[in-house]
């Protein structure tokens, strides 16, 4: 059984089709990257998978559980880090972790052990009793990551996990993802940082305007794009048809700067 199964998924916002007949799956122990330009429908897809949005039609399942009809069961098995982090600013991470562990009913002993180990690993212990409002963006991201990992989920869903992070925190995030998979978990992430996707993901799906334009390993994508030796960035631009636009844009800019 696949960890994530999405079939013919359609999600509209009024007249706008955000996700258009999307089909992909994430296998057990796999890191799957959902790539696409801004507004391609990546976050919408992840929100449908978390049961936060109702699709117009199609199937969306996690571990065989329908995410539309049984989102609570899905959330019990998933660790989710949304793109825009909105935490209770006047609480401290300690108070947030107390809240999360209580909701998830993690036994005290296990919750304690995990909180200590993850906080040490992320070099977060000194921030434990500071109010969230005083934390930097990176530390807020770490807080969210600890929250997502506290119940040892089978699947991590990360929406743009690397945006706004410094080099050190990016590296930590990358290592956490690898460790999660090494210990038997799966990861579904969305990103537009091509280097990250290239170095991290086993397979990627490229979506543009809600449509899956290509899917596979890096080699498979090269074959699809008929671009031997190309890196993911160039493949992405070619497969989404944006390479020509980029070239034109750069030419215009060159001209503007020369005058």
């Amino acid at each position: 059984m696949n960890t994530v199964e999405v079939k013919n998924l359609i999600k509209k916002y009024g007249d706008l089709v955000a996700v258009n007949n999307l089909t992909f799956n994430v296998k057990e122990g796999e890191i799957y990257g959902l790539l696409g330009p801004n507004g391609a429908g990546k976050s919408t897809t992840l929100k449908v998978l978390m049961g936060l949005l109702d699709p117009e039609s199609g199937i969306s399942e996690i571990f065989g559980i329908n995410t539309v009809t049984d989102s609570i069961e899905v959330k019990k098995r998933v660790g989710y880090v949304p793109e825009e982090i909105s935490l209770y600013e006047s609480l401290t991470p300690r108070e947030l972790f107390d809240f999360i562990a209580s909701i998830r009913q993690i036994p005290s002993e296990i919750a304690n052990r995990r909180a200590i180990e993850i906080s040490r690993a992320l070099d977060f212990t000194q921030h434990y009793d500071k109010t969230v409002v005083t934390l930097s963006q990176g530390n807020k991201q770490k807080t969210m990551l600890i929250i997502a990992l506290l119940h040892a989920p089978d699947l991590l869903i990360l929406d743009e996990p690397f945006s706004g992070l410094d080099v050190r925190t990016s590296r930590i995030m990358k290592d956490v993802i690898k460790l999660h998979v090494e210990s038997g978990g799966s990861v579904l992430l969305s990103t537009h940082i091509m280097e990250m996707a290239e170095g991290l993901c086993d397979r990627v799906g490229i979506i543009d305007e809600g449509i899956l334009v290509a899917e596979g390993t890096l080699d498979e994508l090269r074959k699809q794009a008929e671009s031997e030796g190309a890196d993911l960035e160039n493949l992405f631009l070619k497969l989404t048809g944006e390479d020509e636009d980029v070239r034109e844009g750069v030419d215009t800019l060159r001209e503007a700067l020369a005058n």
Binding site: M50, G51, P82, S86, L87, Y88, S90, S102
Partner: protein, 544 residues
């Protein structure tokens, strides 16, 4: 740097202070600022103007009423006694007025970001410190000027130049004392309200502190109405005690400058004059000290910021696991007690007693009848709907957590209803005491608020269902009380309707049978039936 330039920059900082105070007043404001920043800025400006106008109005009214009550009410003791107590009371009330009206704005001063921008600009440390003191002055300049002009002017015109001058000194002393107290208390409240201490005692302290402050604000607004009566009581007590009363009062009442000012016009014994003079000097010295320490307190904030308990960082990493509903309640209580705006939400049903009192009193003459009882409950219970909305609004910040957590809608609403239950039961308990003291026509009337208690479940769940259906399509959503007027009125209507059913049943039965027992039985039956039905049906309209 020229003073004019400093004054201008201080204006920018004081605007930021007001802005931070506004954000700090309610967590929902932080989300709203992103939605429509220009609208919020306009609201802050108009709120400041309103606050300034309100202070001016209150001070002027307070001054006129104090002097009028002392000067014209010739039936209660001699003029010098009446006037000395009037002036002293005015000074005392002014102290409370400045303190409470400006408390929210002052907490903004202790926000670290207030001095962020000036501190990266090329200012010397001394300039930076001066800027903060000037900024603080600018926040209070309007009420301070009004207090120090209006009342001495009234005294000058009514009594004469000598009393007018002493009143001016008294007002200056009071202004300094209240600003000094304001800085100390708001700094303390800021630290307490942002403390992350886990102890229950700490939460209790925050609630008590907040409750005291919020109730103080309402008491301040209500005091003008009872001022003449208060003067009458004080003069009565002083006359009753005899010659010894005024010297004692001059010594123990912190605003005895009023007694001193009138004592020199004659009528008092030499001991009273001496004691009032010494006490006034003493309070004057405290005021000077308060002025000096206010400056250094502010300078400390500018340079070092507000430091909180150092022991907090040394605590061991641990996770305290409760059951999910208790976990939500604990989180809500922490959020609710960390700012004055949220505390206001928690105590709203109790605060409504202040505005319900005249309305209910108007309908009860010799005896307190069931009509008045129903009116009081309906009024307070309708506004309790707002309080429940406030509890729902506490989740406006934690969207990221809720998106990933297996929290059912029922779980959230149950947790909120439990907190709401405490507020509702407390409000009904106060009503019972109030009704008991109001000469009820039958003791059975005291049961009306008690038999209304089961309805709280239906009120909470139905407001939640209404809000989640209308604004979240059935899913959990946080709604801003200040920004979404339609939903606020809707919630109040739901609350009114839920409360009206059992109260209406009670009223109808009384009209038909004249029997309080039957009416009460119908009331509690309807209240329970309503809650059972809501529990059965409401959650079917919601999604997880």
């Amino acid at each position: 740097m020229k003073f004019r330039e400093k004054w201008r920059i201080a204006g920018v900082i004081s605007t930021e202070v007001r802005f931070q105070g506004y954000l700090d007043a309610n967590p929902m404001n932080r989300s709203r600022i992103k939605e429509d920043p220009e609208k919020i800025m306009r609201q802050i400006k108009s709120a400041n103007r309103f606050s300034g106008g309100l202070t001016a109005f209150f001070v002027t009214m307070l001054g006129i009423i104090s002097i009028a009550a002392g000067y014209f009410d010739t039936e209660i003791g001699p003029l010098h006694m009446r006037m000395s107590l009037s002036i002293s009371l005015f000074l005392g009330l002014t102290f409370i007025l400045i303190f409470f009206l400006n408390l929210m704005a002052t907490t903004g001063f202790f926000n670290a970001s207030t001095m962020k921008l000036p501190s990266i600009l090329p200012f010397s440390r001394e300039d930076l410190e001066n800027l903060l003191v000037l900024s603080f002055t600018r926040v209070f300049i309007a009420p301070a000027i009004i207090i120090n002009i209006v009342f001495p002017l009234i005294c000058l015109l009514v009594i004469g130049p000598y009393v007018g001058f002493i009143a001016l000194v008294g007002c200056l002393t009071t202004t300094s004392l209240s600003i000094g107290a304001l800085i100390k208390v708001s700094r303390w409240f800021y630290i307490k309200s942002h403390s992350s201490s886990e102890s229950r005692a700490s939460t209790v302290i925050r609630i008590i502190a907040g409750l005291g402050i919020v109730l103080g604000m309402f008491a301040t607004y209500s005091i003008i109405g009872i001022l003449p009566g208060l003067i009458e009581v004080m003069v009565g007590i002083s006359s009753g005690i005899g010659d010894g009363a005024m010297p004692i009062l001059a010594l123990i009442f912190p605003f005895s400058i009023g007694i001193f000012s009138m004592s020199l016009l004659g009528g008092f014994q030499i001991t009273t004059i001496a004691l009032a003079g010494s006490a006034s000097l003493f309070y004057g010295l405290i005021a000077i000290r308060a002025y000096r320490t206010s400056g250094s307190s502010l300078r400390a904030v500018a340079v070092k910021g507000v430091t909180r308990s150092t022991s907090e960082s040394k605590r061991e990493i641990s996770v305290d696991v409760l059951n999910p509903i208790s976990g939500i309640i604990r989180k809500d209580m922490k959020l609710a007690t960390r700012n004055l705006g949220s505390i206001m939400i928690i105590v709203m049903p109790i605060l409504m007693m202040f505005s319900a009192y005249p309305l209910v009193a108007l309908t009860s003459e010799t005896y307190f009848r069931s009509t008045s009882a129903i009116l009081g409950i309906a009024y307070i219970a309708t506004f309790a709907g707002l309080s429940f909305m406030g509890l729902l609004g506490l989740d406006s910040e934690g969207g990221s957590l809720h998106e990933g957590l297996p929290i059912t809608t029922k779980m959230i609403l149950t947790a909120k209803v439990r907190v709401f239950g405490i507020q509702f039961i407390l409000a009904m308990a106060i009503l019972v005491v109030w009704y008991a003291l109001s000469n009820p026509i039958t003791p059975l009337i005291l049961l009306v608020p008690i038999f209304q208690i089961p309805v709280l479940y239906a009120v909470g769940i139905m407001i939640g269902t209404f809000v989640y259906r209308v604004r979240g399509g059935g899913r959990v959503v946080a709604v801003n009380i200040a920004g979404d007027q339609i939903i606020v009125f809707g919630a109040m209507a739901v609350s009114a309707l839920m409360n009206a059913i059992p109260l209406g049943g009670y009223a109808l039965m009384i009209l038909m049978t004249q029997s309080h027992v039957l009416a009460l039985l119908l009331q509690i039956s309807l209240a329970m039936l309503e809650s059972i039905l809501v529990n059965k049906l409401a959650f079917k309209m919601l999604k997880n």
